[in-house]
């Protein structure tokens, strides 16, 4: 041992080798301890037991076409039921000769969603696309123009109804939720009290009761002759509900912003609105993307509760299709089919949230 200072910098060395190849991967990930090896074997056994029967039911023994329900009962799934009923499941009670319109609405929605994935379009252009898209949706669904007969909202059903309730609910519920969250942190006691009261009240009651009250009790209070469209009432209930939940998610983000950010903005002379819009909200919302999307996903599925006020969304239309006496006993097939539809939209939202996180958390990546 000597006390000589090092005159030449140490040369950089390559890191020690990591296990490679399939065997190396297996050893590192699945068999790296006795307990994990046992778990791996048990999981493989479970998959071996469960998957073959599932494949047999869903594919090998499945019946793909049949004239009616009686001819469709075998050992496997009856996909013929979906074939016979998919129009009803997707479009519900919408007049059959006009069903190209809800079909077009679904396409418009998918196009709007696709546009939202294009980074280049974000901002005014995307807002314009969505404005045009939503106008087209309502024009197509409601009609009332030459060549487009009017279809009353009570007949809107199936997937378009689900999409309308969910998308409008999110689109209007979100800004309202942001306002409520800001209001709850306001310096003004009256504003704060109103926001807290609203959030706690709405969060504390089941959505079903709100939908019920909106559609059964509200008419009792309105003067006779005045009616509010049933779909509109459900939609409003939805927006108000979504806002209360989203407000608390947004508040979580607001609380995570260090006080120094607000002080720096104040010291530069920014007004409350500028500070909120340019400094606080962009950071707060970027932080809460995962719980926001979580709420959106659960809202999307909650749209099925409108069946309680006899609106037939995707799930409602499916339940209705199952009551056909010619096609009895195919609820598993029907549920698998619509579960796949729900799943694809929810999975999309989940992927989209990852895109948003990448985009808005750039500053936090190294």
């Amino acid at each position: 041992m000597t006390d000589i200072a090092r005159q030449v910098p140490a040369a950089a060395q390559a890191p020690p080798p990591r296990p490679t190849g399939a065997i190396g991967w297996l050893r590192a990930n699945l068999f790296n301890s006795v307990f994990n090896a046992v778990l791996t074997v048990a999981a493989l056994a479970l998959i071996g037991l469960a998957v073959p029967p599932l494949i047999r039911w869903a594919l090998i023994d499945a019946i793909w076409s049949a004239p009616n329900g009686q001819a469709c009962h075998g050992g496997g799934a009856c996909w013929a039921f979906i074939g016979a009923k998919f129009r009803f499941i997707l479009f519900g009670r919408y007049p059959i000769e006009e069903q190209w319109r809800p079909a077009a609405v679904i396409i418009v929605f998918i196009a709007m969603i696709a546009a939202a994935c294009v980074r280049r379009l974000w901002g005014r252009r995307l807002a314009a696309i969505w404005f045009v898209g939503l106008s087209a949706v309502f024009l197509l669904m409601a009609g009332g123009l030459p060549g487009l007969p009017r279809v009353e909202t009570a007949l809107w059903s199936g997937l378009p109804l689900t999409l309308i309730l969910a998308v409008i609910g999110m689109l209007l519920g979100f800004p309202l939720g942001v306002l409520l969250a800001l209001g709850r942190r306001s310096q003004l006691p009256a504003v704060r009290a109103i926001c807290i009261g609203y959030i706690e009240l709405v969060r504390g009651v089941p959505l079903i009761t709100v939908l019920f009250m909106a559609s059964l009790m509200l008419p009792l209070f309105l003067p006779s002759g005045v009616t509010i469209d049933k779909l509109l009432r459900a939609q409003i209930a939805f927006i108000l509900f979504a806002a209360a939940y989203l407000a608390e998610v947004v508040r979580g983000g607001l609380q995570a912003i260090p006080k120094g950010q607000v002080e720096a903005a104040d010291a530069l002379g920014l007004s409350y609105l500028q500070r909120t819009r340019l400094i606080v909200l962009p950071q707060a919302l970027a932080l809460v993307i995962p719980p926001l999307v979580n709420t959106f996903i659960s809202m999307f599925k909650d749209t099925s509760l409108v069946i309680i006020v006899s609106l037939f969304d995707l799930l409602g239309a499916t339940e209705f299709a199952l009551t056909d006496s010619n096609w009895q006993g195919f609820s598993v097939e029907a549920d698998v089919f619509i579960a796949m539809i729900y799943w694809s939209f929810c999975f999309f939202m989940s992927r989209y949230s990852q895109l948003l996180e990448r985009e808005f958390n750039r500053d936090r990546r190294r």
Binding site: P258, G260, D266, A267, L270, D363, R364
Partner: protein
């Protein structure tokens, strides 16, 4: 006690004036009868033990803290609860914080142009030219498109100084600007501040950097327990402190 101004600024009218300012946090009396005048071009360094109210005092000057009694006049505008006055004063007073407080979601250039564009209503192009000029001045012209998180502490603090300068303030407040920095980065920030002082900026600095204070300050202010104990030009302040508390404080920070 008379206010001793610098030789250069003695005739100019005060741009910051605190008269009998008091402040409480709940029951705790943080500021007690603060009287302070800062003239145009004057550099005031405020020091004192932690908890003495130095930060609170300079944060009152741009209303990050509210005083409860007394009068504060900045750049000819009296600080009242009138939002218009507060915003007008904040436009003229730049502030640099201990924790930098850069906006992490914006690039360096966006940090610098934000307030000029939204508060001064400058066209974007002009704001960017100004921003690049000041980035040059704080010697980091090549970091404009990085995010604050990608910079070192010293670089971040220099960006924060540039961000304030982009508003072309009359007065700069520094609240312990080097206290959160690694030792090897303190000098680069102090150099920028010294340069600024040499150009005649009116500055109020809360700092423990006594070397900086000696070279730059026109007046030293020593605070303890919410009061201004002593004020004097740096030569007298360091060589011949009048109060025991000042002497104790100086011996503690200069001893090591």
């Amino acid at each position: 006690m008379s206010d001793v101004g610098s030789a250069a600024g003695a005739t100019a009218a005060p741009v910051i004036e605190l008269q009998g300012v008091h402040k409480w946090y709940g029951e705790f009396h943080v500021l007690r009868d603060i009287n302070l005048q800062v003239r145009k071009g004057e550099k005031v360094v405020v020091c004192g033990p932690s908890g003495s109210g130095k930060s609170t005092m300079i944060r009152c000057i741009n209303r990050l803290e509210e005083h409860q009694r007394g009068r504060i006049v900045v750049a000819g505008i009296e600080l009242t609860s009138d939002l218009k006055n507060i915003e007008a004063i904040r436009r003229e007073v730049g502030m640099v914080f201990q924790q930098f407080n850069l906006f992490p979601h914006l690039t360096v250039l966006q940090n610098l142009t934000l307030a000029p564009i939204w508060v001064r209503k400058l066209p974007k192009k002009e704001a960017e030219e100004t921003a690049r000029y000041y980035l040059e001045r704080v010697r980091i012209p090549d970091q404009a498109d990085k995010y604050p998180g990608q910079l070192s502490g010293g670089q971040q603090q220099r960006v924060a100084i540039a961000r304030s300068l982009c508003m072309k303030p009359e007065i700069m407040l520094f609240d312990e600007p080097t206290s959160a920095l690694d030792p090897e980065m303190i000098k680069e920030v102090l150099d920028v501040m010294t340069g600024l002082a040499e150009e005649g900026m009116t500055m109020v600095c809360v700092t423990h950097e006594m070397g900086f204070a000696r070279t730059v300050a026109d007046m030293m202010v020593f605070m303890d327990r919410g009061e201004i104990i002593e004020r004097a030009p740096p030569r007298d302040f360091f060589s011949n402190p009048q109060s025991d508390r000042t002497r104790t404080f100086l011996s503690q920070i200069l001893a090591h």
